[in-house]
Symmetry: C2
Subunit: 151 residues, 2 copies
DNA sequence: TCTAATAGGATCATTTCAGTCCGATTAATC
DNA sequence: GATTAATCGGACTGAAATGATCCTATTAGA
């Protein structure tokens, strides 16, 4: 009942991209170093984000990642579900055939409600909002620019 | 991001107990057969439910399980968290030390909100309500009593 | 005492998770 | 065209969680 590491990394990645939306393309290593995750693993995650149309990737020398849409058009939910699949809180909703016993399906109405609420909350927040809030928080915290990284 | 099997079984178990609240003590095998789960596994689950004070167990011949409180005093959330632990949707809330980078903590406010909503929804439903809804649904579905099981 | 039940520790198979390795591919630059 | 710097993507691996099952111990009614 929790976000996977891959999902967490995906969020960090797109958040970083959103916070540096002015720049063209950002290298995988830079993102990984700045957001503290394994660069190789980020590669896997990024491929899924690209398939989902959230980021676009350029290969080859000087390659890297960038958001495929505007930050205000990307919901947190989309990022998470691109990696971990659509959010289901219990199996029965996901696999109705595993629930042919109707006996407990009153419970599932509750689960379905909970699920809708959750997806609604996560779907209602965009990267633009998150990035803006991050920047405000960052500015209040330290005096040097948060742009610097690894030399 | 989903309920474990053990959690699912726990719910089935207490729901069955709630639906037969008039009876004294119900044997593990009966519950397992009626609610379609492995009896041994139910044993494990039941121990946790007992530790959490949700059911009480009588050992020995003619032993079995019963609810430790009235069905209207047991929330669905309590049952789930007795088995799977307190619900956390992401690690960072659970282990704040794993999140010393404040960079992404704007996201965590969202997660925290989502988590509160989820716990609220699951905490607002009692076994009494679920059992009543089940019985209504059952009555409308079949004509024989749903009490019968394995001879 | 016998028997029917649960308790609970040990064990096990499977799946998921998290991550790494490495050759293939792509594209900019020399 | 060769070199180089990047990502792609499949294979692999170790660790942990999950979903059980087995077996002995214990409990308590008959």
């Amino acid at each position: 009942m929790r976000l996977t590491r891959a999902g967490e990394y995906a969020i960090r990645c797109v958040l970083y991209l959103a916070m540096h939306h002015d720049r063209e393309l950002i290298g995988r290593k830079e993102i990984a170093a700045a957001m503290d995750m394994p660069a190789q693993f980020l590669g896997k995650v990024a491929q899924q984000l690209a398939k989902a149309g959230i980021i676009s990737i350029r290969q080859g020398s000087q390659g890297g990642y960038e958001l495929a849409k505007r930050p205000q058009d990307i919901a947190l939910l989309a990022v998470i579900e691109a990696i971990d699949g659509e959010i289901f809180l219990n199996d029965c909703i996901h696999r109705p055939h595993s629930c042919d016993r109707q006996t407990i399906c009153s419970v599932h109405q509750i689960w379905d409600k909970a699920r809708r609420q959750l997806r609604n909350t996560l779907g209602g927040v965009t990267l633009a909002e998150l990035a803006a809030r991050e920047k405000r928080a960052c500015a209040g915290r330290s005096r040097e620019q948060p742009h610097a990284l690894q030399g």
